[in-house]
């Protein structure tokens, strides 16, 4: 089931009836995309290069995004959000990523991870926090990855939370957390019962002013300089137990369901990112005049069209309440790999000058490497998808038993 609410204004325009509803680009969707484009043009583009160089992202950007209604898409209106369905999250991801701007990832984490989890699972004591996050008055982060592991959390998670009266006492360390340097709230995944496995962990909303919360240094990364990530430590950090999201012990499935949908958003965003590169390359007269380059760009464009079709079809199923975790994993790695291949092709067409800092493409060389890493590495995603294939293999073999292949 989608963490995003159903939204009524997703009726397709008549001319777009062939597209998977709700991706038919009706007036509401187009207006939303234009709103995002205006936001990027006024709030981000004038400062993007500076933020990338200085490796910072101002909190004011979150406030502006909140005012533009871009952070609380999944939050019901009565709780301070926009009450939109998943198709708008896809549109947001595509519009932010196609501009290749600093802060896109950070805004997406708040809008697509933190706010939906809070909206779905937080209790009444966190209502004010949710409203602040949805409206951009507060910044949120999702603290799951640890220095010792991120892909196999049910087995490797070391952060613990122990009940002490009405509080949790949390000990542990988190790394590579987007928004950590400026977050006001961090949704921490901690092990709250003995043993290993997916039902031994809980998601706890930790305010950064809680005693024992220590903000670690901001990471210096190869790329995405304008997308601050950092580490944090919880040293006997005391947090009210009523700040637990949902049922204790169910933090991992809650987060996994959300992460599936986030992966699909990253996939859609990756395609949009690569499409922007192809369109720029096509606008270069040198490429337009050369048959081989035209053919290469045409092939890339067609492959990206295919990727977008897949992402939209999968997202349409999410809107209908059918989130296929394996399919989302596949989308993440297949379309992330595709976007990197296409980006490499476009950079190749630019020639050696692509590496020059004044060329405008140098950031792409650095940033694009993240597409197959954040949100789950391609290898992990292959393993998730491959795991489903293992089941399919066994079923197919049982059905065919006795018949030669």
């Amino acid at each position: 089931m989608s963490v995003f609410p159903a939204h009524p204004d997703t009726r397709p325009a008549a001319s777009e009836a062939h597209l998977p509803a709700p991706f038919a680009r009706g007036a509401a969707h187009l207006a939303f995309r234009e709103r995002v484009a205006r936001f990027v043009a006024t709030e981000i583009l004038p400062h993007a290069d500076a933020w990338d160089r200085e490796e910072r992202l101002p909190r004011a950007l979150f406030a502006a995004a909140g005012r533009a209604g871009l952070l609380g898409l999944a939050v019901p209106r009565e709780q301070g959000g926009a009450g939109m369905d998943y198709s708008y999250a896809v549109a947001l991801a595509e519009e932010l990523m196609r501009h290749r701007v600093a802060g896109a990832v950070n805004l997406m984490v708040q809008s697509n991870c933190v706010c939906p989890l809070m909206a779905r699972h937080a209790g009444p004591d966190l209502a004010d926090a949710l409203r602040a996050l949805a409206q951009g008055d507060a910044v949120g982060a999702l603290g799951s990855t640890e220095p010792g592991g991120g892909s196999a959390l049910p087995h490797t998670l070391a952060t613990t939370a122990v009940r002490d009266g009405d509080d949790w006492v949390i000990d542990g360390e988190k790394a590579y957390i987007t928004n950590a340097p400026m977050a006001d709230w961090v949704l921490v995944l901690a092990r709250t019962s003995a043993g290993a496995g997916p039902l031994t962990m809980s998601l706890i909303a930790v305010p950064v002013d809680a005693p024992g919360f220590v903000r670690g240094p901001q990471h210096r990364k190869l790329g995405l300089g304008g997308s601050p990530t950092g580490s944090l430590r919880l040293e006997r950090c005391r947090v009210p137990a009523r700040y637990t999201l949902g049922r204790p012990g169910y933090g991992y499935p809650q987060m996994s369901a959300l992460l599936c949908q986030e992966r699909l958003l990253i996939a859609a965003g990756a395609v949009a990112y690569a499409r922007s590169l192809v369109k720029e390359a096509a606008a270069d007269p040198a490429n337009a005049a050369d048959p081989a380059r035209r053919a290469a760009l045409a092939s890339a464009h067609a492959r990206l069209d295919a990727g977008r079709a897949y992402a939209h079809a999968a997202a349409a199923r999410v809107c209908e309440g059918d989130t296929d975790a394996a399919a989302c994993a596949m989308a993440k790695y297949a379309l992330g790999d595709l976007a990197q291949d296409v980006a490499a092709e476009c950079l190749r067409l630019r020639g050696p000058g692509a590496a020059r800092t004044e060329g405008g493409m140098e950031a792409v060389l650095r940033d694009v490497r993240a597409l197959t890493v954040f949100g789950g590495t391609s290898e992990t995603m292959r393993e998730m998808y491959g795991g489903r294939l293992a089941g399919a293999m066994r079923r197919a073999t049982l059905q065919m038993e006795g018949h030669p292949s």
Partner: protein, 432 residues
């Protein structure tokens, strides 16, 4: 014919015929004609939405049979030639060719042009006849077709000026069977036309040439749909194999991470291509698709089919190298498909590029002043152009479809030809 009946027909008749066609390396034209006899009213009336609906249902059924040569033969029989004839044929052409094709009495093939190849040339011949000369390589549907639709260029012109319909058994039409590594159930032939006489009623005209991109787009979409189904068949067989093949005591091939990951990549290729084809197919049901969209779909599908077939063969190990294995056949078909002008990678890339660059780069024009001989030839070609336009006018007036727009286009074109004739100063032919 309902979907269930179509599915039943394909599963029983077509599958059986496909097996034999692959073994003897002859196209299953008989079953293609049988399909037209049973489903002609549904499949053979292009321009109706239901017709494309039916063909879009038929394409994956044919692809799943596991012989893309058969799929290409059957889809082509029920597709482009009938669409062109239906829209542009005169009553005489309908009576002699179209009606018989719809009844499954004979078959028609289209000799698609390929990027970079010179089209056949249409020129004056004796008396009222015209003649066509040229060569088209790897035409699908020949040998075996009774009639050929050939794109032609008026002598001295540029591009495709019109289409003509010639009898394949004419002594002026030479067909050399092309033997290939795959598509054994498809008739593929190099067609050479030597002074092939063409009567006025055999000319489809310039309006038909303008229909060619749309008709080509439909064929590409149908073949892409068949390719997706072929991929699915190969993947299913591979899934079963790696899930049952012992690798070590208690372990099957599929337990190896590298095998699972490889299979995952191949499934991703299929799934993404499938979504793309479905999106464009859904668009087509509501109206024509842009040629660049169909070219993009075909480009992606051809490449994905090749990767999937190769990958599945690899996972099958020695079995994948056995010629009679169905996955091996899919691989052979996949590497042969680019031979078809319809699916030629350069042509597809050129057409798909219009999505980014608009129309194709203009051909550089000659700059020097033509001499008297060339002026005469140009006047003759202009006259031929007028002949094509006039034929279109006659056919439009004659046709039951009454293509009023085509007649207006022809009249406008004739006006242009008139002006060019006056400039050339040598009026070789003037339309009544």
């Amino acid at each position: 014919m309902s979907t269930d009946l179509l599915a039943g027909f394909v599963a029983q008749r077509v599958a059986r015929a496909a097996g034999k066609a692959e073994r003897v390396r002859r196209p299953p034209l008989g079953v293609a004609r049988l399909l037209m006899r049973h489903a002609g009213p549904v499949l053979g009336t292009p321009g109706r939405t239901e017709a494309m609906d039916a063909r879009l249902e038929l394409a994956p059924l044919l692809g799943a049979v596991g012989s893309l040569g058969t799929a290409a033969t059957v889809l082509h029989s029920a597709g482009a030639p009938l669409a062109l004839l239906h829209r542009h044929a005169s009553s005489m052409l309908r009576a002699r060719v179209l009606d018989g094709a719809l009844a499954g009495a004979h078959s028609v093939a289209v000799a698609y042009p390929r990027a970079g190849e010179a089209p056949c040339i249409l020129r004056p011949s004796t008396g009222p006849l015209l003649a066509v000369d040229g060569r088209v390589a790897c035409v699908a549907g020949v040998p075996g077709a009774d009639w050929l639709v050939v794109p032609v260029q008026v002598e001295g012109g540029a591009g495709i000026d019109g289409l003509v319909v010639v009898r394949a058994s004419s002594p002026h039409v030479l067909v050399d069977r092309v033997h290939t590594v795959g598509l054994h159930a498809a008739a593929l032939g190099d067609v050479t036309l030597q002074d092939c006489p063409v009567a006025r009623w055999q000319v489809l005209g310039s309006a038909a040439a303008r229909s060619l991109p749309a008709v080509t787009a439909d064929e590409r979409l149908l073949m892409a749909s068949a390719m997706v189904a072929a991929m699915e068949g190969a993947l299913t067989r591979t899934l079963v194999f790696v899930g049952g093949r012992l690798f070590a005591p208690g372990q099957v091939l599929g337990d190896q991470q590298v095998v699972r990951h490889r299979l995952a990549d191949l499934m991703a290729d299929h799934d993404v291509t499938d979504a793309y084809v479905r999106e464009v197919a859904a668009e087509r049901v509501h109206g024509p698709v842009a040629p660049h969209r169909a070219a993009g779909v075909a480009l992606v599908a051809c490449a994905a089919l090749r990767r999937v077939a190769e990958g599945c063969m690899q996972l099958l190990g020695a079995r994948g190298f056995m010629d009679e294995h169905p996955v091996t056949r899919t691989y052979r078909d996949a590497v042969t498909l680019p031979l078809l002008p319809l699916l030629d990678p350069d042509t597809l890339a050129r057409d798909a590029a219009q999505a980014l660059f608009g129309s194709a780069p203009p051909v550089a024009a000659r700059r020097r002043t033509p001499d008297a001989h060339e002026l005469g030839a140009m006047a003759g070609s202009v006259a031929l152009g007028a002949a094509l336009e006039a034929s279109a006018v006659m056919h439009a007036a004659d046709s039951d479809a009454g293509d009023g727009a085509g007649a207006m286009d022809a009249a406008a074109g004739f006006g242009r030809v008139e002006r060019e004739l006056a400039f050339a100063g040598d009026i070789a032919w003037r339309a009544p």
